[in-house]
Subunit: 228 residues, 2 copies
């Protein structure tokens, strides 16, 4: 295991980060079982360290642990999607309402997330586009100025992203979402928080519907055993 500079985090944390990345990038798809020995060997760490890493990710909700049956990448159900979006509405909308134009630092970051999103969409980089989209929303949460809330929200976003990367790029048009985000940004800078909140609410409804469709297809596919 390489150590370029001074580690300020444990190896277990690093391993967790690597796996988290792979899950969120869709490289490890929901349902995929992870075996301790081969995985630990492939990353050049001991089994104990790997166990700590999987423990971290299972507490984050990205992995599901069944005793004596190993861990597997979590699979969202439709109910999960409902739950998550209920929370997103509950957290993001008040965030926007509590926003203040004075927080130009956050607004600026939102702006650059927006730019990054447009760039990624034009470059057809779906993965990066999803990242910027979710970063846009994460930044809204920052208006609450609450660390605990941010980390909880981040956990939710991780779960959303796990499903998002499975979206069929050919049938889903990411370009469609640019104007909505742009409009929200404009309303924010103009101090029209209520209008922005209303638009955000619609956007979240739309987003939920889209993700639900994906998950429904995904669940159907996984329940049909081997039909290659």
């Amino acid at each position: 295991m390489e150590r370029s500079q001074i580690d300020r985090v444990s190896v277990a944390d690093q391993v967790a980060s690597i796996l988290r990345q792979r899950i969120l990038d869709g490289e490890l798809r929901p349902g995929t079982p992870l075996q301790e020995v081969p995985l630990a060997a492939s990353l050049g760490v001991s089994r104990n360290t790997m166990r700590e890493a999987t423990r971290i990710l299972s507490l984050e909700g990205l992995l599901k642990r069944s005793i004596h049956r190993g861990v597997a990448v979590s699979q969202l159900s439709l109910k999960d999607v409902q739950e998550i979006y209920h929370l997103r509405r509950m957290l993001e909308i008040p965030a926007v309402l509590a926003a203040q134009s004075s927080r130009s630092d956050i607004l600026q970051e939102i702006r650059s997330a927006l730019d990054g999103y447009e760039r990624s969409v034009r470059a057809r980089d779906w993965l990066q586009a999803v990242s910027f989209d979710l970063q846009f929303h994460s930044l809204l949460i920052r208006f609450h100025q609450n660390k605990r809330l941010e980390s909880f929200y981040q956990k939710l976003i991780g779960e959303v992203r796990m499903g998002m990367v499975l979206v069929d790029r050919t049938h889903d048009d990411p370009e469609r979402l640019i104007p909505v985000h742009h409009k929200m940004y404009q309303l924010l800078t103009a101090g029209k928080f209520k209008q922005c909140a209303a638009l955000l609410g619609q956007h979240l409804d739309d987003s939920e519907a889209r993700l639900s469709r994906v998950m429904a297809g995904q669940i159907a596919k996984s329940s049909a055993k081997q039909t290659t």
Copy 2:
């Protein structure tokens, strides 16, 4: 380590539960350092298992992990208290507003938490009183019918409780809180959700102020090194 029946949870989870209990009961006070070897030995488990347990609790926020410096029971700052109560208001008040008298199952549980609270106060059992108080509020969150929210809230309540058990029983009158909770229950059963939410808001402000006072004293005490 005794195993009475069929374990459906790992030893690490059990150890985590034991430590969680000790922290929430005030047996392990904020700031207390935990050493792996003696602790593992005293509970009859290996160091690795103990590490998994502390990993769990540190992700729950009950323990603080400093690399190469060990773990210690978390110490809430005044800012932490503010953050937590901001969240409590943000979650509990909408919960009450989303309540429905039809959920008589929850209402009934609230009722019994209330009864338990009164009983504990009369029995001068401060620890149990705190438990019932916090259970009362946890039940309100149930109106959201959202598992993720419940577990997040439970984490917050754990942190609150860690501070609550340090309250000076002699200077603080737990009996004072009975009428407020009683009134909230009445308003709930009567379907007067808005009034209930308003009262809850006041109650939370009061509760925050009280806890802040405790924490301020606690922090002052811990910053003054040895002055016995």
